[in-house]
């Protein structure tokens, strides 16, 4: 391997544990990655630290890295002004139901696109692809008109159902299902398995990595959505965390230090999920191969 050749250079770094000294390539790589990680992490860390600063610290110049006094009151104030528990539960509910629904709908559509030959299939698929490209802002009012004529405004379903139609999910699943050998499905048919049985017993288990990816993206998308829920959730009881945050940020008089605290509170659940699930997330993505 190339790295072995490089290790013959003059560099002689010995680690304290007395293991094999790292090669120059390894040092370069680790240094490079560490610097890049700092660029990625530092702003987030800075932001979290800022949320513990009072308004005087926030406007001090040059900026202070650590707060002169840890303003936990930013958080207690934020808790007082906003019903965090309620918003959190709404976020969890909407995210999970929408994700389940997304998986069901998208996997069926993807199955049809990848394994059935019906007229206009390719046309429909291109249309699905095209739908990925429509920015929400463009069709916001027409969608709103549809949702409201169905009487779904100001309901959980109004936030969940339109969101479940995510063309990106269909795209990812379809790409993956193309790799499932047709022979498998054919032989199941010959054995007399029904279409739904084939789908549920053969296709879905095989598509598990792709489903995991779609599930993860769906969770991320739904958790962070705010433009749509802001429009649909008219009642405070229906607010999700990002909606409450957008509200807080949009109210021009909410003190900035409290906005910061609320922002951090809104990303904590995501960070938790991330810390505990990052392996699954990344392996899931890795396994789909997304080719």
């Amino acid at each position: 391997m190339r790295s072995l050749k490089l290790s013959s250079s003059k560099q002689k770094w010995t680690s304290a544990s007395g293991k094999r000294p790292p090669t120059r390539a390894e040092i370069l790589r680790t240094t490079f990655l560490t610097v890049m990680m700092l660029i990625i992490l530092a702003p987030v860390v800075w932001f979290v630290l800022s949320s513990f600063k009072d308004i005087t610290d926030l406007s001090s110049r040059p900026p202070k890295i650590l707060p002169t006094h840890w303003a936990f009151e930013n958080y207690t104030e934020a808790f007082k002004m906003y019903n965090y528990k309620q918003y959190f539960m709404n976020s969890v509910f909407i995210t999970s139901v929408a994700t389940v629904l997304t998986l069901v709908i998208n996997s069926m559509a993807a199955y049809a696109f990848s394994k059935y030959n019906f007229r206009g299939r390719d046309g429909l698929f291109v249309m699905t692809l095209a739908m990925i490209m429509i920015p929400l802002q463009v069709i916001l009012i027409p969608i709103y008109l549809v949702v409201s004529s169905l009487g779904l405004v100001n309901t959980y379903w109004g936030m969940i159902i339109p969101a479940a139609a995510t063309p990106t999910g269909v795209f990812i699943l379809r790409q993956y299902m193309l790799t499932i050998p047709d022979e498998l499905i054919e032989s199941a048919r010959i054995d007399g398995a029904g279409e739904f049985r084939i789908f549920a017993r053969i296709v879905l288990p095989l598509a598990r990595p792709a489903l995991a990816v779609v599930a993860i993206f769906s969770i991320l998308w739904r958790w962070n959505d705010f433009i749509w829920p802001l429009l649909i959730a008219q009642d405070e009881k229906l607010y999700t965390l990002p909606v409450a945050l957008a509200l807080l940020n949009g109210q021009l008089v909410v003190p900035y230090n409290i906005v910061l605290a609320m922002s951090v509170m809104s990303i904590i659940p995501v960070l938790f999920m991330f810390v505990f699930m990052q392996r699954q997330i990344i392996q899931g993505i890795a396994q789909t191969g997304l080719k």
């Binding site: 391997m1 190339r2 390894e26 790589r29 990655l33 990680m37 660029i39 990625i40 992490l41 702003p43 987030v44 932001f47 926030l58 001090s60 110049r61 040059p62 900026p63 559509a109 249309m127 699905t128 095209a130 739908m131 990925i132 490209m133 429509i134 920015p135 802002q137 463009v138 069709i139 916001l140 009012i141 027409p142 969608i143 549809v146 159902i161 339109p162 479940a164 139609a165 958790w223 962070n224 705010f226 990002p242 945050l245 957008a246 940020n249 906005v259 910061l260 922002s263 809104s266 990303i267 995501v270 960070l271 991330f274 990052q278 990344i282 993505i285 890795a286 191969g289 997304l290 080719k291």
Partner: protein, 273 residues
């Protein structure tokens, strides 16, 4: 499928239909033919917006895909703390756009932001990242890349792991340099994945809106007003010109569609997708 029809296709078709009407309130519509399209073409702001969008998309796609590729290759070879690096890379992807905007507003502040404090400490002055048009564009491109880099890298990483290691080892035995291995083996094998990344990045680039809106509000002096904000401003901000907003939406859709179709066709020619 009914859900797709109801919540995406029907609204989209309606959007196209509305683009031929004039409406100041979303309730009453007057047919105006192609007047909205003509108005956009004749609008000097729209030209600025088109230029800004083009600049943003070109740089965003170039930088994001190149960096993601670089990252993926480096992380793939990394042994020490590989999982950690992968994880951190993915972190910004998970943040909501509002939070992203707030974070960078804080970091890039000309006076109390840590970046300028750092620059001042090394004698780099204190540039107005969010108040000078060129710097504003650089800032939003940078933040756009910051947000999505992890997403693209992870997908590429997946592609890399799919490459047969014995192939690389054989090449290395034959005395190929690292550069040669990357250029002649890895990159060609990654082409399909790269295409997916380029398609996604192009779409993301054209659709960028919410974090920019929180970060710069389209400023300074309109320098970061991209097409989606133009649409949003016309459709939702007073004076409301809903038909005009829809027309701009249709134009955006056609542009993205053309780009994607091009990518797709190029890809298909090489059996990529």
């Amino acid at each position: 499928m009914a859900i797709f029809l109801t919540f995406i296709i029907w609204p989209a078709l309606r959007g196209i239909y509305i683009s031929f009407f004039d409406s100041t309130d979303g309730r009453t519509f007057t047919f105006v033919g192609t007047a909205n399209y003509k108005a956009i073409i004749g609008d000097p702001t729209a030209i600025e917006v088109a230029k800004a969008t083009a600049t943003y998309v070109v740089f965003y796609v170039l930088i994001a895909t190149t960096l993601a590729m670089f990252f993926a290759i480096v992380v793939n070879e990394q042994k020490f703390a590989k999982g950690f690096f992968r994880a951190v890379l993915f972190l910004p992807v998970m943040l909501s756009p509002v939070v992203v905007g707030l974070i960078w507003n804080d970091v890039l502040d000309r006076k109390v932001g840590p970046l300028n404090a750092l620059l001042e400490a090394v004698g780099g002055g204190s540039p107005g990242w969010l108040i000078e048009p060129k710097l504003g564009m650089i800032a939003v491109i940078f933040v756009g890349v910051w947000v999505h880099l992890g997403f693209y890298s992870i997908i590429l990483l997946a592609g890399l792991q799919g490459i047969d290691r014995s192939l690389l080892e054989a090449a290395s035995m034959d005395g190929a340099t690292r550069g040669q291995i990357i250029r002649l083996i890895i990159l060609p094998l990654l082409k399909p994945t790269t295409l997916v990344i380029i398609i996604l990045a192009t779409i993301h680039g054209f659709q960028s809106f919410d974090f920019i809106y929180t970060l710069t509000g389209g400023g300074p002096f309109g320098a970061t007003t991209l097409i989606v904000q133009y649409i949003y401003d016309h459709a939702f901000q007073v004076p409301i010109q809903y038909g005009l907003g829809s027309a701009a939406g249709v134009i955006l859709f056609m542009v993205i569609f053309a780009f994607t179709a091009l990518n797709f066709l190029l890809g298909r020619k090489r059996d990529a997708i």
